[in-house]
């Protein structure tokens, strides 16, 4: 299934590239609804633009909560992001305060 490059898709890609990796972090960063973001993540994963992992159980246990899933951009995803930004240059402005979060290892 070819990936539909919508504007929210571009925003989600941008958020991922800026280091927002968890679903709710992306929601916070982009201001999009969960019903929009999650299907986008699924599509991106299907298309090979992102891959998902689980954070380590130890770390979650330390914080007293269940482990979270995180997503990260693949090489294909980086290319798609460039394409998306070319199509929606204004997305740069809307998405996300910059800066990296510590990557969950």
């Amino acid at each position: 299934m070819p990936l539909r490059l919508t504007r929210p898709t571009a925003t989600v890609l941008l958020a991922l590239s800026r280091g927002f990796r968890h679903g709710f972090d992306i929601l916070d960063a982009t201001g999009l609804e969960s019903g929009t973001v999650y299907p986008i993540l699924r599509r991106l994963e299907d298309a090979g633009c992102v891959r998902s992992e689980w954070e380590e159980v130890e770390r979650a246990r330390e914080e007293g909560r269940p482990p979270r899933r995180y997503y990260e951009l693949t090489g294909t995803g980086a290319g798609t992001l460039r394409e998306a930004l070319a199509r929606y240059p204004e997305a740069r402005g809307t998405a996300v305060p910059g800066g990296l979060r510590p990557r969950p290892a």
Binding site: G23, E33, S34, G35, V37, R42, P66, R68
Partner: protein, 883 residues
């Protein structure tokens, strides 16, 4: 760890997520929600955070739906369907039975539904039809037939001036007119005489030209006409030049000013519209011949309009006591006014066909259950290999979906053929027949039936796997799961009992209708119809304005026809023996004058001398009207036996005098002496009681519209040709549209009864066959299941006859239970049928006794084959099979 807010929402939709992804999906959402909640607990506004988490959790449903579409639906459904198709291909007999049952059952139901939809349900083809109503006359007390539904023109005008709840009010009256044109045969066509207000009232717009204007209604206005689109196409080739062209109607010229769409017709016969120019008949408040229709103002309810109309009718009643006594007003939806008479018959037929469908479905349900049982092992294996209940259910639903798809396609074809056939045979008494079509609602009906069938039949077998032990039992070699087996057989027997009950109801209804029809067809008529032909003649007022011309025409025509070969007698009558015609009021000389508004009425039937002889109506007493009766001689009249029964129950009517109290032609007598009494003609339909009728001599009652009655030897078709030619020898511009034998006229009078009886009988036969198949199926399956048991019993000395008796008794028991139930239901439903029966008791004891007996007999016949098979069981073989 407590569940974070919103997690319950996520859990609620987790079923959408394909099973292999479900746990991970749930964990992901739980992780996010827990993280979000943990962060919120560090100082945020807690209730706002809770709301936000709930809101986000709601989004999980989109996520789950996406995953369902991506992984669950498409791939698995494709797989299920392929698997189902393979498994069905191995059982072509099963597929054929299911598809055929669905096709015939649902197809027939859809065909009848197309009738119900086109006639009863579909909105009238006018703009905002829900605001269209008819105002009908209704008796304010007592006898509902004392007041005619149509209104007088003057009442219409008063209503129009006084009613506030209506945007528009219009008066409409149907009539036949003769359209003549150079070079073409004169044609008799249906006309609607309408007030100009009918156009805004109905919301009709011409496709060409202009509607009528108030100025067209003024007496002396230039005569104009509008034609329907169909007539425009047929006669004028759709040329716009028709506007402004002159046509000849009833011998008088009129200018075509517009073309109306065909949908605007109020009756199927309407082809021309004429402005209603009030004449002398419109000046009498006692002449009720207009349908008053109106468009309610937006927001005005029918109830409010009815209250208002009743109030106006009350005022009219007080102001004109002699004409409007007891005359109230009712407001009903216009569609209701058009279709009310057709409703009981159509709904009964629809109910009947639904019963057939239901019986068919009961058979299929039984079949599916049997199939599920025989595939128990396959299912058990699949379950053991890890297929969940949902998976197995999907498997069954996929199979029934494919079957419903095939059945639906076949049903569509059956519905189309059925609909065309029904429309071809639909009696003229059913209005709006032209609007019957296989359209969207019918398709929706068919799809609905098929969807219910697919889900129902798919779920039935799946229900049987509720018990895990059942499937495990099936895996054990030889395990037959005795208890669930018995339960299932009970279920199937229950289905068959229901089938027989439904078939009994249908068969009793059909038998009542057929018996009624049979009685109608051979009702002892006082007529001798063979060899009698009727020809409708309508002399246009324009050329035949004076009685002398009218009588001269009929005199010359009688001589022309009498001279034709084979003709034995010729005479004329107003209308024919099965036509209701008109009634008019009179009083009897020498009796106290009846109170105002209570004058007796009788049917008016002007006849020429010899009419009674021509149609074979016996003269019971006195004499026929004679050639000596003329304008200027004392009036004579012949009355029927119903008249004598009503007005002279114990005296001789002959010699008494009727006072009509009015004169329709200058010089017409007002007093008529009764000279004879004839037997009753079936005016109101064969089998219905006759009303009082008065037969005036044609010469003293010179109507322009008459029927010629001819008794002749030889071929009726050749005679019809001869009669047309003879009419045209006298007047070559006179249309001769209807030439019918008296047998045909009598046949038409029972056409509606015949249509209902034929369809219901057809449905009842289908129901009977289906019920028989159902009994056969259940018994033969039972025999198959109990081969071992029967074998043991035979080995222990049970005789073949005993085995046969036992199986047949089982069939008879099921059938008797069903028939008893059906009997009760039919008894309760008899009231519904009463409106379709003419003069027969709806609770006929013979029918109620015979039909169930017949059904039980059929059931025992159906049980015969399985019983014989059981009796042929070889005990040794059966025991060897017993595992």
């Amino acid at each position: 760890m407590p569940r974070p807010p919103g997690f319950a929402l996520v859990r609620a939709v987790r079923w959408l997520v394909p099973r292999h992804l479900r746990d991970a999906w749930l964990a992901e959402w739980e992780g996010e929600l827990a993280w979000g909640w943990q962060r919120a607990e560090r100082g945020e506004n807690l209730s706002a955070a809770r709301a936000r988490l709930h809101w986000r959790a709601l989004g999980a449903s989109s996520d789950a739906l996406w995953l369902w579409r991506r992984h669950g639906a498409t791939e698995m459904i494709g797989f299920d369907l392929r698997y189902a198709a393979r498994s069905l291909r191995r059982r072509p007999g099963f597929v054929a039975v299911v598809v055929l049952t669905l096709a015939l059952g649902a197809g027939a139901a859809a065909a009848v539904f197309s009738l119900v939809n086109g006639v009863l349900l579909r909105p009238l083809p006018f703009s905002q039809p829900e605001r269209l109503v008819a105002i009908q006359g209704r008796a304010t007390g007592g006898d509902p037939e004392a007041v005619s539904q149509p209104s007088s023109y003057l009442d219409y005008q008063d209503m129009r001036a006084q009613l506030r709840g209506f945007e528009q009010l219009a008066a409409v009256r149907g009539e036949d007119v003769t359209l003549t044109a150079p070079g073409a045969r004169p044609a008799r066509i249906g006309a609607q005489l309408v007030t100009a207000s009918a156009f805004p009232a109905l919301g009709m717009r011409p496709v060409l030209g202009r509607p009528f204007l108030a100025s067209d209604e003024r007496p002396g206005a230039e005569p104009v006409a509008m034609i329907t689109h169909a007539l425009w196409q047929r006669r004028y080739g759709g040329s716009p030049a028709v506007l402004g062209s002159r046509i000849t109607l009833d011998g008088a010229p009129a200018t075509v000013v517009g073309v109306l769409p065909d949908e605007a017709r109020l009756t199927p016969e309407t082809e021309i519209w004429l402005p209603l120019v009030p004449g002398p008949a419109e000046e009498s408040r006692a002449t009720h011949r207009f349908t008053v229709l109106g468009r309610l103002r937006p927001g005005v309810t029918i109830e409010r309009a009815a209250r208002e109309a009743s109030a106006v009718a009350k005022r009219l009643e007080e102001r004109y006591p002699s004409e409007n006594a007891k005359r109230g007003a009712a407001v009903i939806p216009l569609r209701e006014a058009i279709v009310a008479d057709a409703r009981p018959a159509l709904l009964t037929l629809f109910g009947a066909v639904l019963l057939v469908l239901l019986i068919g479905c009961a058979n299929l349900a039984s079949l599916f259950m049997a199939r599920a049982q025989s595939r128990e092992r396959e299912m058990a294996v699949r379950a053991a290999l890890g297929a969940g209940r949902a998976r197995l259910t999907r498997q069954w639903v996929a199979e029934s979906f494919l079957l419903a798809l095939g059945g639906g396609a076949a049903a569509l074809a059956v519905a189309w053929v059925g609909m065309r056939t029904l429309v071809a045979f639909v009696p003229t008494a059913i209005p709006r027949a032209g609007e019957i079509a296989l359209d969207q609602p019918v398709a929706a009906f068919l799809i609905g039936v098929m969807a219910v069938a697919a889900i129902g039949f798919g779920a039935l077998p799946a229900l049987q796997y509720r018990d895990a032990s059942v499937s495990l039992g099936a895996l054990r070699e030889g395990g037959r799961g005795a208890t669930p087996g018995r339960r299932r057989r009970r279920m199937r027997q229950g289905l068959v009992v229901a089938e027989v009950a439904l078939a009994t109801v249908l068969a009793i209804s059909a038998a009542l209708l057929v018996k009624n029809l049979w009685q109608l067809e051979r009702a002892r008529l006082p007529l001798r119809p063979d060899g009698v032909t009727f020809v409708q003649l309508q002399l246009p007022q324009g050329r035949y304005s004076d009685p002398a011309k009218v009588l001269d025409f009929f005199d010359r025509l009688r001589r022309e026809v009498a001279a034709a070969p084979g003709v034995r007698s010729v005479s004329f009558a107003f209308e024919h023996p099965v036509s209701e015609g008109w009634t008019s009021s009179f009083s009897l000389v020498g009796r106290p004058e009846p109170p105002v508004g209570m004058w007796p009425e009788s049917r008016i039937r002007p006849v020429s001398p010899g009419y009674f002889r021509t149609v074979g109506l016996p003269l019971v007493r006195g004499n026929d009207v004679s050639d000596a009766d003329r304008f200027g001689t004392p009036g004579s009249v012949v009355v029927n036996e119903a008249f004598v029964r009503e007005h002279f129950p114990d005296g001789d009517a002959v010699g008494q005098t009727i006072n009509r109290g009015q004169m329709w032609w200058p010089g017409q007598p007002t007093h008529f002496r009764i000279v004879g009494v004839v037997a009753d003609e079936p005016f109101r339909g064969v089998g219905r009681p006759a009303d009082p009728a008065t037969y005036y001599p044609q010469a003293q009652f010179p109507m322009n519209d008459m029927w010629m009655a001819v008794r002749a030897d030889g071929d009726p078709a050749a005679l019809a040709r001869t009669l047309r030619e003879r009419v045209w020898r006298v007047d070559r511009d006179l249309p001769v549209e209807r030439v019918q034998t008296l047998d045909e006229l009598l046949g038409d009078a029972v056409a509606a009864s015949r249509f209902n009886a034929a369809l219901l009988a057809l449905f009842a036969c289908a129901a009977l066959c289906l019920a028989a198949v159902g009994i056969y199926g259940v018994l033969s399956y039972g025999v198959e299941q109990r081969t071992g048991e029967i074998g043991v019993r035979m080995a222990l000395g049970a005789s073949r006859a005993r085995v046969i008796r036992q199986i047949a008794a089982e069939g008879a028991a099921v059938a008797t239970a069903g028939a008893a139930l059906g009997l009760v239901a039919a008894f309760a439903l008899a009231g519904v049928l009463r409106s379709l029966l003419v003069g027969t008791e709806a609770q006929d004891p013979v029918v109620f006794a015979l039909v169930p007996t017949l059904l039980v007999a059929v059931a025992i016949t159906a049980a015969w084959l399985p019983a014989r098979r059981a009796s042929r069981i070889d005990p040794a073989g059966a025991l060897r099979c017993e595992r």
